[in-house]
Amino acid sequence: MDLELILRVYPFFLEAAWVTIELSVLTAILGLTCGALGAAARMSRMSLFRGIGAAYVSVFRGTPALIQIFILYFGGPQIGIQLDSFSAGTIALGVNIGAYMTETIRGAIISVDRGQTEAARTLGMSRWETMRKVVLPQAARMMIRPLGVNINALIKGTALVAPISVIELTYTAQRFIGSTYKPFEMFLLSGILYMAIIYVVGQGISWLDRRAQIT
C-alpha cells in the first residue's frame, strides 16, 4: 500500500467529501419534501392525488436511480431542461429517494392506532387537527429510524452521480486512478470517507431517536 501517495492526495478527497456531504444534505431535504408530499398524496381523500402518489412511487422505485440521473442530465437538454451536473444529480437523487421516503412516512402514519384518530374525532377535532396534534406527533417518532435507513442509502447513492462528472468522492477516486494506477488505495480512501460520513449521520439519527422516545 502506497501510504505516501495517500498522504499526498488526501486533501483532494477531503474536498470531494464536502461535495458528497453537500449533495447528501440537499438530496435529503428534497427527498423529505417529496416524501411528505408523496405521503400526503397517497393518503388523500381524492383518488386523483392517490393515483399520482402511487404512480410517483412505482415509477421512481421501479427504475434504476442511475437511469433517472442519465435521463435528466443527458436527456434533459433534448426537452429543454439544461442543468449543470451537480443540480441534475441532486434533483434526480432527491426525487428518487423521495419515493422511498413516501412509503416510509405513509407507513409510520398508518401504523398509528386507529383508536387515536377515533378518540380525537369523537372529541370534535377535524381531520387535519387530528392529523397534526394526535397522529403526526406519534408517527414522527416511529419514522425516525426508517428515515435514517433511507438517508443512509441516499448517502451511498450519491456515488451514482460520478458518471455525470460531479466531483464527489467516487469520481475523485476514479480521476486519481487515471493518473496513479492505484485503484486499491484510491477506492479505499473514498470508502473510508463515506463510512465516516455515514457513521456521524447514523449517530445523529440514533440520538434523535433516543430523544424522541423519552417523553
Binding site: 372529541l123 370534535g124 387537527e129 394526535v134
Partner: protein, 253 residues
C-alpha cells in the same frame, strides 16, 4: 310539557355488502336516561353505538340529538364541519381507552377544549383539574398515560370526554379490557355520572352493573333489538328464548 328526547334513532340499518349488521332499529333515549345495550359479540351493539356519533355511519335511517340530525347527508366539507360540531356534544369512552400517549394527562384533557372552544391555558388547566378531581385522579395531572394503570387510564379517558361538556355519553365496553380488580373504580365513576343525570348509552358485558345503574336494558342479537325493558324485567323475567339463553351464560346465578 313534552320532554326532549336527547337521542332518537329511527329505522337504523347498516350493512357491509350483503351482511346486514343492523336491521331497522328504533330507540329513544330520554334526557337523563341511562340505557344499557347487552348482547352476544357480533350482535351489532357496538356498531349501533358508533353510529350515534358517525364513527360507523348508518346505511339508512336517522340519528337525532335533540332537534339536530346527526347523520345528515351533506357535501363533504359541510358534512365534516357538521359532524365536528355535533360530536362536541357527544362524549365517547372506548374499550381500549385511546389516550394520547404523547401527551400528559393534562394534555389529553385540555387538547380538544383548547383547540375547539378557544380556552386559554389557565382556563383549560382549571377545567382539567376539575374533571380530574371528579374521577379522583388529581395527583396524576402531569403523568403520561404509560405510567397509569388500566383503571386510571379509563378514568382519565372519561375526564377527557367530560371536559367537552357533552350532552350525552357513550360507553363502548368501557371495562372489558380491565383486570377484574380495576373494574369497580371505573364503575364508580359511571355511577357518579348517573347520579348527576347524565344521559348515557352503555354497551356492556357487566350484567350486574347494568342491573344496578340503568333505567332500561336493550338486548340485541343478530342486528335487531330482541327485547327491551327495565332491568328488573329483562334480568328477572326475559320473554324471549334468545335473551334467556344469553343471560343464562352471563349471570352467575
Amino acid at each position: 310539557m313534552t320532554e326532549y328526547a336527547f337521542v332518537t334513532i329511527k329505522n337504523a340499518a347498516k350493512s357491509y355488502g350483503a351482511l346486514e349488521v343492523l336491521k331497522d332499529i328504533n330507540l329513544t333515549v330520554q334526557r337523563g336516561q341511562i340505557v344499557a345495550i347487552i348482547g352476544p359479540s357480533g350482535s351489532g351493539k357496538s356498531t349501533l353505538l358508533r353510529a350515534i356519533n358517525e364513527l360507523d355511519p348508518l346505511t339508512s335511517g336517522e340519528v337525532w340529538l335533540e332537534d339536530v340530525q346527526i347523520n345528515r347527508k351533506l357535501p363533504f366539507r359541510q358534512y365534516e364541519a357538521h359532524v365536528n360540531q355535533v360530536r362536541q356534544d357527544i362524549g365517547m369512552v372506548f374499550q381500549h381507552f385511546n389516550l394520547f400517549p404523547h401527551l400528559t394527562v393534562r394534555g389529553n384533557i385540555t387538547l380538544a377544549p383548547r383547540m375547539l372552544k378557544g380556552l386559554t391555558e389557565a382556563e383549560a388547566d382549571t377545567l382539567a383539574e376539575e374533571q380530574l378531581a371528579k374521577v379522583g385522579l388529581s395527583e396524576k395531572i402531569d403523568e403520561y398515560p404509560s405510567r397509569l394503570s388500566g383503571g386510571q387510564k379509563q378514568r382519565v379517558a372519561i375526564a377527557r370526554a367530560l371536559a367537552m361538556k357533552p350532552k350525552v355519553m357513550l360507553f363502548d365496553e368501557a371495562t372489558s379490557a380491565l383486570d377484574p380488580e380495576l373494574v369497580e373504580e371505573v364503575n364508580l365513576v359511571m355511577k357518579q355520572l348517573a347520579e348527576e343525570h347524565m344521559t348515557m348509552i352503555i354497551v356492556t358485558h357487566e350484567m350486574d352493573f347494568a342491573a344496578s345503574v340503568c333505567d332500561r336494558v336493550l338486548f340485541m342479537d343478530q342486528g335487531v333489538v330482541v327485547e327491551e325493558g327495565p332491568p328488573s324485567v329483562i334480568f328477572q323475567n326475559p320473554k324471549h328464548e334468545r335473551t334467556q339463553n344469553f343471560l343464562r351464560k352471563h349471570l352467575n346465578r
